[in-house]
Symmetry: C2
């Protein structure tokens, strides 16, 4: 029936679930859900762009399977992860008269996954939900692992819940309507998995990059390998008290740059991560942890993928080094003056370093400025 090309199981005990990956899963989603969740109704949460590009397919497959469903649409973009839109989604689910054992569907990128998953976790004190990620970033990262939430004026993702989905359906063909720039941004997170602890995977990416970008079979394989990697980490450390922090490689620098550019079109999240990963490797080399040549090899691969790799690649004027340092200190809890960073001993050898000297970071940023 449905063409499922890859399947990853997230073995979290009573919160276990499957990630199904395939070329046209949305067209079969109705049948899959009817079989896995008989007799339940569905509240589909999506954003206006995904509604245009992908909802018609889901709608048809739901209708074919005879499923009862309602659709709640919110605007596209990071600013949707707000109190206001959270309230819209939750009240929308209640207005649709969904019961506690009905399901919420998140159809979209990481923004929709985060807000719809969080809304599910607090509506009627907890409804089940299904992730249908439609961006590369969401397929390889945000749809797996159960972190959900919205942003606060005090910072990103500060309000939310750990709430695992009951199922993830990653339809590869949804990526065909995604912009090249968004695809590349998601690819930065793909590369990240190689850099953390899988040098073989990084090499494989170097060899298959063109095929992944053009949509050949390597695309599905890359996504499946990322999901398996993330699943492994999440099983080991569901609530991020330890090793899950490695997934933040490149993110401390990246978040500071995102903040500095106002979470705007100037720099997408994955673009910030791309620059951040290069900076983390360069900084690690300077600190004597890593060989010097890795940063260059990584930068070359990311650059070839259409991603920015240096501070000079960010359009517009960057804030002062003080401003960036302030953002870095906020992102990573400062304990007695020292900073926590994900550093590395080379490709595939990332580690958590809790004792980074802020002055060394400051000098480093000064040197890296264009």
């Amino acid at each position: 029936m449905a063409a499922i090309s890859h399947k990853v199981h997230v073995a979290l005990g009573e919160r276990a679930y499957d990630i199904l990956i395939g070329p046209d899963l949305l067209d079969h989603a109705g049948a899959i859900l009817a079989e896995r969740f008989p007799g339940r109704r569905f509240g589909v949460v999506t954003d206006i762009e995904v509604e245009k590009a992908q909802l018609p397919r889901l709608r048809r497959s739901f209708e074919k399977a005879g499923l009862g469903f309602s659709v709640i649409t919110v605007p596209s973009g990071e600013s949707t992860k707000s109190w206001q839109h959270l309230q819209t989604v939750v009240e929308g689910l209640l207005a649709a008269k969904l019961e506690r054992n009905d399901l919420v569907i998140a159809l979209g990128g990481g923004v929709i996954g985060d807000i719809a998953g969080f809304a599910a976790s607090i509506t009627r004190r907890g409804m089940d939900f299904v992730q249908m990620p439609t961006t590369l970033l969401a397929q390889v990262d945000s749809s797996v692992g159960g972190k959900t939430g919205i942003n606060s004026p005090h910072g990103k993702n500060l309000v939310g819940a750990f709430h695992q989905p009951k199922l993830v359906l990653a339809d590869l063909s949804t990526l065909d309507t995604l912009s090249q720039r968004q695809f590349a941004a998601g690819y930065a997170e793909v590369v990240k998995y190689g850099l953390i602890d899988s040098p073989d995977f990084f090499e494989w990416l170097e060899a298959h990059q063109a095929e992944i970008f053009s949509g050949g079979p390597a695309r599905g394989e890359a996504i499946a390998r990322c999901c398996a990697h993330k699943a492994r980490v999440v099983i080991e450390d569901e609530k991020e008290t330890g090793v899950r922090a490695l997934l933040n490689l490149g993110h401390t620098f990246g978040h500071a740059l995102e903040k500095d550019t106002g979470y705007s079109d100037r720099l997408l999240h994955g673009e910030g991560v791309s620059i951040g990963m290069v900076l983390a490797h360069t900084f690690s080399a300077r600190q004597g942890f890593a060989p010097g040549q890795d940063a260059g090899r990584i930068a070359a691969h990311l650059h070839k993928s259409g991603l920015p790799t240096t501070l000079a690649d960010i359009p517009g004027t960057l804030g002062s080094t003080d401003t960036l340092m302030h953002a870095i200190a906020q992102d990573k809890k400062v304990s007695r003056g020292a900073l926590t960073f994900i550093l590395t001993r080379g490709i595939g050898k990332a580690f958590i370093e809790k004792n980074v000297d802020p002055d060394a970071v400051r000098t480093f940023i000064e040197d890296m400025r264009p």
Copy 2:
């Protein structure tokens, strides 16, 4: 040190916690928390009335123990359980720079316990919290069991989380500043525990009612017995998929009446429950489940406690029977036309009946109208 007169343990595995009951626990709260949660900071959530009546004591004991804390105050009353005030509390906790392993304190009645507990569960994806209930209702009911939440325009408590506290401190002397009317309303829930499955407790209440109301030693004992009862039910059915529903004895009728009177001063929650319990017993007798005399005995006890027991006791004009039936159908999910009610075979013999005929309820309400 602290005068702890009773201790109840809620054995919920890794979510287990203690309920400590005593005459002056607020004065010792600082020392108790400093010992149980060393090195943590505290965000105290309270309402304006409790701030005036009880916060000064807590503040002194925190200062004596050298604890770091911030206070967030919201208005008093049911309308505080809203999106707007939830946002105020969560953003207040973030503005106070509380970290994920700091603690939220709910100092107040059920309204504060519900909103502060919910805020704790979603701030930084989950902070620990401590209940310091200051109403009789909160001490015997809402502070135990981990149900937290706010109201939606679609209905009461429709948005929330299951989030168990780490500790409950019930200070008996806080009840001295509570109005007689609020105390009596909470007492309806005390009586409820006897009616569900503890006829001995109901008899004991009949014998000790005056002492409970005047603040003698029976007050602490009654509260401890209620907490132990609720703890037992919660351990058996944490997420209310079965037997926990018995705690709703009197609540289906009660909620319909509360709704009809606009959740206003005309009828407090416990007052609605008082009338509801008498109605549930009278209806059960009519249906042939229970002996006729129990309803009268219960009504006499509640009436002596200063509580309303009949529809005629509600000030103002009641809505039509249709309106009440509509509220009843909304409160309890209607499955294929039948209603679910907590009925009874007599004092201490409540049971869940899923097959109640709506027409019988309608006729019954008609008969009961003044």
